[in-house]
Amino acid sequence: MSLIVNGAKVSAPADARTSLLDLLREDLHLTGTKKGCNQGACGACTVLVDGERVLACLTLAVQVDGREVTTIEGLAGADALHPLQVAFIEHDGFQCGYCTPGQICSAMGMAAEAGRGVPSHVTADLAAEVTLTREEIQERMSGNLCRCGAHNGIIDAIRATLAAETPA
């Protein structure tokens, strides 16, 4: 069994208990994906699997056999920053930096969801086009906790980068 991580083929672990998170961090030394709670309650381990944001801590590595995993390390090219990463710096969308890779990966997944019209808890009209208002982004990013309190900067960075193409 194998999976693709940031474009490279990787063997699934021998121990079925190994989470995708531990595979990334301990076996592949891709420590950009963070372990905040290991119980699906903080979002720090958010990665993209086949483009969808998921929690690496609640994913057994064997479950993603044959699928493509993108982590923060695979978001931009080598020595380059994704515009969203630049915006996080500009808007001071973090303090300690521990939840940050998860926030960024989550925002990427969120933009894709909104782009294909997935509604959210705060969407007033389920039949209407999705507009990424501030409140919509806040709700859609609520699975990513931040304890330093960088919420405003995070939302500002996302709005400036990913919500620009949709009416506000």
Binding site: K35, N38, E73, Q85, F94, C96, Y98
Partner: protein, 779 residues
Amino acid sequence: MSIVDNAKQVAQGLVQSAMERLVPLAPDSWIPGGVPDPLIARKHGTIGTPVSRLDGALKVTGTAAFSAEYRFENMLYAALAYATIARGRIAAIDSAAAEAAPGVVLVMTHRNAPRMATPPAFGSSPTGVGPADLPVLQDDRIHWNGQPIACVLAETQEQADHAATLLQITYEVEAATTSLADAKAKGIEQGIFMGHPLLNEVGDAEAAFAAAPHKIDQIYRTPRHNHNPIEPHAATMAWNGDTLTIHDASQMVTQQAQTLADVFGLETEQVRLTSPYVGGGFGSKGLWDHQIIGAAAARLSGRPVRIALSREGVYRVVGGRSLTEQRVALGARADGTLEALIHTGLSVMTPHNNMPEPFILGSQAAYASPNILLKVEVTRMHTLANTFMRAPGEAVGTFALESAIDELAEQLGIDPVELRLRNEPEKDPVNGRPFSSRHIAEAWRSGADRFGWADRPAPGTRQQGEWRIGLGCATGTYPYYRMPGAEARITLSRDGEDVRAKVEVAAAEMGMGTATTTAMVAAERLGLAIEQVEVAYGDSTIPGAIMAGGSQQTAAIGAAVIAAHGELVGELLKLAGNDSPLAGLSAQEVGCDDGALAALADPARRERYASILTRAQRDAITVTKAGSMPLETMHWSMHSHSALFCEVAVNTVTGETRVRRFLGSFDCGRILNPKTAASQFRGGIIMGLGMALMEETQFDERSGRIMNPSLAEYHVPVHLDVPEIDVIWTDIPDPHTPMGAHGVGEIGITGVAAAVANAIYNATGRRVRDLPITLDKLL
């Protein structure tokens, strides 16, 4: 906490008290900051401009290495087993199954752990930062429900975690005090904090209160809280002979290394602790049992160890903020001026630590009153040792005081902002010292204007659909501290004409922006561009001791950098010698500007660093210097201040509260980096919103066990809970502090819970006096 340790604390307190009697009487010029630093007055360099974090790229790419991301060859993974009783002893441990489990290398319990000294508890010595006066894994005693009692090392984390579940432990249970009522019945004592009794008396407050024409007298309660940094506590470590290298997550790098050295009977130099990145701390990233256990297990196994606490493990091992029950009694005249201010009450700690939650600290300099009584008493329960959490004392104390002020304003029919301004003190109400810099009235006025405070409705009168809307305000004071012991090492080096400076400080960066601000301060002093300055920190081999606590790190670093800079100028002048245009000038007559030393009186008289070093045939020059003794804190009354405004909506159907707007107007001296300071303010405010509305550590009084050790059941604010938070500041420098700055890390949370509670009152007419204000309290 033993009697001896208490005596030590009291003795330290006496020495401090003597200093505190003498220092206020000394002339200003004898005191650090007494002759204002000329650099405070003029803005130059990048000071006061928004600078993005220098470690930003590392953090947004996930390449900043946190403690659990270091690796050693042949490293083992640790898992802990925790006691499930509150008090007693371990009768038996059957570890056969665990030892036989796949991948297991070691099961360590009190039976086979190396002999270690008890870590000196926090406050019992200058460098002691142990969590409690308790030995770690040295005997069969259980002191709290959740105490780590065994450590399993295995080749993988999965193997270690599984094996830890196979340990069979039987206990002899002893009676434990795990309910507040029991604890109170067993005794209440005066709280002593950092060597001082938490007791302030001015006049006869009870008599004045009894005689006052207008009174508020209420009890306010706050529950236990946990810090919940998103990075769980972890350390990765290896022994090389008798030398320990530990990559830790630490707010107090040097002190933790020293305490570990004390535990293992080593010299200071034999422990190297690094902590360049800390994934949030808020008071929690100190020394707890796990680092000691990890180091012991590494020693016993002869292999490097990673010990990363599970989220539950953090709740079992790392203490949080204790609960409080506070009485605030205010006696006032009809015009609102206070005749009596009484703020007393109870907090809880353990038999083996000394941390009464000092909730009166924020009441000491808040309001003028001829009669003041402030007192914290404590009772003891058999629990995990509680500890500092963001604005210890002030965060919960201001909930009581500022709610009571709001209640008084309501009773008297005086606008709550106006009531506060009427009670603005001219000097410190408790110790009589002059304020070094206090512009809270200006913060109130600018905040009220910007927020639209004048439009505040009468309580319970504004509704939009299902939502009742209300505005509230509160103020906070947080003391300016500067702890002694900080040093800075500056190395100025030359590569051809290029000059660079390396500034090393034994500080910690948890996201406050310390690394960036230090570079800004050093660059300004040195007359270099910020790109020419490298800041090193988070390493116990760096001289001096600094702590990321008490909102004092920036001041401590600043004083050390200023001192080292002065030393550097002197050394450069010596190197420059008589062939320099600067010849004959003293260090005091020279400043730094654009990569050169320049005469202050005649900046054209100058010589470039590169030129001085080249002529002296030197590639580099290094100086190390300690900051001045922080006597200024005994000479003036020094505080950060806030005026907070909050708008809430409370749902009439469900009782749910949403914070719709929040404004923090701050008076915190010169703001060095508006970008990172704003984030500190906002971060504190948001933690305060959590405290106001949702945060509570559920402590089961039957078992002494924390029942919500999880980020799913301990609620912290999520994105949708957090409105856009407006922050403004006076930016008036304090002439008596390094760079004119005050701390900004803890003033943010101070007063927030009261601002929310007061807004909820304004929306609904309901006063809630126990936190958190959950929806059931508003139905």
